[in-house]
Symmetry: C2
Subunit: 421 residues, 2 copies
């Protein structure tokens, strides 16, 4: 918080207002909203676009062109099982989007109940859901859409505050929880082993409680090191809660964002329940695209090779954002931000009560930021302070201009706030 005397504050306000007017005069049209890979990153997967060619037969002899196979083909299941360190028999491969599978899992629990339900969730008096914040907006939109009551839990450096989670989970009306356990959206936080085990072991009031383990960034490092992917299915089994996790993964930010392969890992019982509905919904996922992916990667090391290319493209962008935030903001104490080692986002906390104003100022200067509050259920950030920055899509030069502008907006909003006081 700006800690200036009145004179200094007025002077600073004049300086930063002038800077903001200069910024507006540039008539920018820049966008930091989207957690999308850049064109350069998508190029890393271009070999896929000519696969599988004439090699359309899977290793077990399946003609991938024809109908059938709710589990996905063994070729990609085996490969991805190695990537995640999970047995292939516990892993289904799907179409492009794991979000689709999450929606289906929850909506089918709503209509039919899941394999541990006493009744369909639609017939419960109330369904509540644990939402660590800040979190992924599209997660919260699903549970909002189904009318669940979303209860927020703060994040620590090791994952969600487990005392709060344990207390909430004891309520039988609490049916589940959203998580992004590795390089979380938008915090970049990776859950510690202790947190993973605690989530696997905790008691829950509802027998059909589920944790959506959206491991969307399991291999999405910005450094030379890959994170440990804990086999929470094993942790849960050991703790006597074998059906606790719906473990999601996908190649969306590895190959083609909109044309990859999704994965759903879980206990056999959970997978059987899923298949009992998925087999009514349709005739199985696109096996051709799965085979193309298996051919493209060759093996788990092929996935890591691909991710090192992404890191080479993304890391300089993240570094420049962090440098600009540091250069422009650190001396004033008006903001804090995460320094992620992976994932797609930087989470920026500005002066309380000013996030929406920062986004508005930026918009008026031609810089699109993700809406304030978008990382919270119902888009309500109780402190109006969190802004999600997505550095992946723009080229570095644009990113620099945009971030310098954002810093100006953060300072101007802080000034305005300080002048009010």
């Amino acid at each position: 918080m700006l800690d200036f005397d009145a004179e200094r504050l007025a002077q600073f306000n004049a300086e930063i207002t002038a800077k903001y007017e200069d910024l507006k005069a540039k008539n920018l049209n820049l966008n930091l909203t989207r957690g999308k890979p850049s064109s350069e990153q998508l190029d890393f997967g271009n070999a896929l676009l000519s696969l599988p060619g004439e090699n359309y037969i899977a290793a077990d002899g399946t003609d991938c062109r024809n109908y059938g196979g709710v589990t996905g083909i063994a070729d990609i299941r085996n490969l991805w099982a190695e990537v995640l360190g999970i047995p292939a028999e516990n892993l289904y491969a799907g179409d492009a989007s794991s979000l689709n599978i999450m929606f289906d899992l929850i909506s089918w629990s709503y209509i039919f109940g899941n394999n541990d339900s006493e009744r369909p969730w639609k017939d419960e008096e109330k369904v509540k859901w644990i939402c660590p914040v800040p979190g992924y907006d599209r997660h919260f939109t699903i549970t909002e859409h189904l009318g669940f009551e979303m209860i927020t839990v703060p994040m620590t450096d090791e994952g969600p505050d487990m005392d709060a989670v344990r207390e909430l989970a004891a309520d039988p009306q609490v049916k589940g929880m959203w998580t992004v356990p590795v390089f979380g959206n938008p915090t970049g936080i990776t859950f510690s082993e202790a947190t993973c085990r605690a989530l696997a072991e905790m008691e829950t009031g509802a027998p059909d409680f589920r944790i959506v383990w959206d491991n969307a960034y399991a291999v999405h490092t910005l450094t030379d090191e890959f994170p440990v992917v804990y086999n929470v299915l094993d942790f849960a089994k050991e703790a006597g809660n074998p059906n606790r996790f719906w473990f999601m993964s996908s190649t969306s930010k590895i190959t083609q964002a909109g044309a990859g392969v999704s994965f759903f890992a879980s206990s056999k019982e959970n997978l059987d329940w899923y298949a009992s509905h998925a087999n009514v919904r349709g005739i199985g996922p696109n096996k051709i695209n799965q085979l193309a992916h298996a051919q493209f990667f060759h093996d788990a090391e092929g996935v890591r090779i691909q991710m090192r290319k992404h890191a080479g493209s993304l890391a300089p962008k993240f570094q420049r954002v962090l440098e600009i935030l540091d250069e422009r903001l650190s001396e004033y104490g008006v903001a804090t931000w995460t320094k992620p080692k992976g994932g797609y986002f930087i989470s920026l906390d500005v002066v309380d009560g000013t996030a929406a104003r920062v986004v508005q100022l930026a918009k008026e200067a031609g810089i699109a930021l993700t809406g304030a509050g978008s990382s919270f259920p119902l888009h309500k950030d109780p402190n109006n302070r969190n802004i999600r920055l997505a550095p992946s899509l723009p080229p570095v030069e644009e990113l620099e201009v945009a971030m310098d502008g954002v810093a100006t907006c953060v300072l101007l909003a802080a000034c305005e706030k300080a002048l009010e006081a």
Copy 2:
């Protein structure tokens, strides 16, 4: 029905029993159950398996590799709109399976109600559904899964018996109806224009009544002629029922069965309602596969060229099946069958009460037939007489052996029945 005197019947029974024993001695392992394209047919689409290559930008500049776009890309929507004779603005392109979209439409109506519903279908005392029979088993499985009461309506040569349909549709608990309007599964019947108009115009008790217009075989001719695809969206709009039809289409039996593109055509209001839920479920369909399909076909004539190849492969198989049925069965009056001009199936009606026995006899002789009753809701054929034959998958030589065997089984079951009497 076998119309022999006792002596002749005993003699015939001896002959046909001997024939059946010969059949069993062959230890066959043949399969007529699956409405899948053959390997030869799938080959017609092999050029797709190397597309789109480096040409991944849609005509409007969209990078098809990245996220986004619930409607699908204009390239394939425009092309398919021409194939169906429907404006592209009324047509969304999706992932591989239109069955998936049908399930979503119905399950979302169940959870949320559709755009004309007074309440979600889950909150209705009872939901009933009109099921013309024989029909497509996977349709009936969806409405069974959601607990709807399925009411059957007989088929005429022009489509479902409209007097029966009108009477049922007047009931406010009747929320919808399954149809396969062109080259129906399994009958091969194509709805006449009068039937199409009558369905568009009829009054319904429920304001949110929907006809699932599963036009799965719209271009799947076995002759040189393509059927007229009536624009029922227009018929319905003219009649003041603009939201009546959920019109489905797909390339599943045109390019790759399990890796094609599906389509959903409807009124703007219906599409908006669909998008309001589909946008929560995910981030849009696989645009790369859509672009590959647009490149593969070039234009609507490209689709017709492709379908002529399929006809060249399928027509001789259908012809042999019909010849064998004629040669072996026509003189005895024990069966009738359809002579379709398109689609994937021949519908065989055997002596009442013997369909299950025919399927059992065939199974014991190593010939797998679709289960008796599978074309009826809950797999219950009230007359136990209908058998769905799927000639597409096996090579002609296998098909001949299998059909000759089936004819023997039909005759033996008819003999057994006659001997009982």
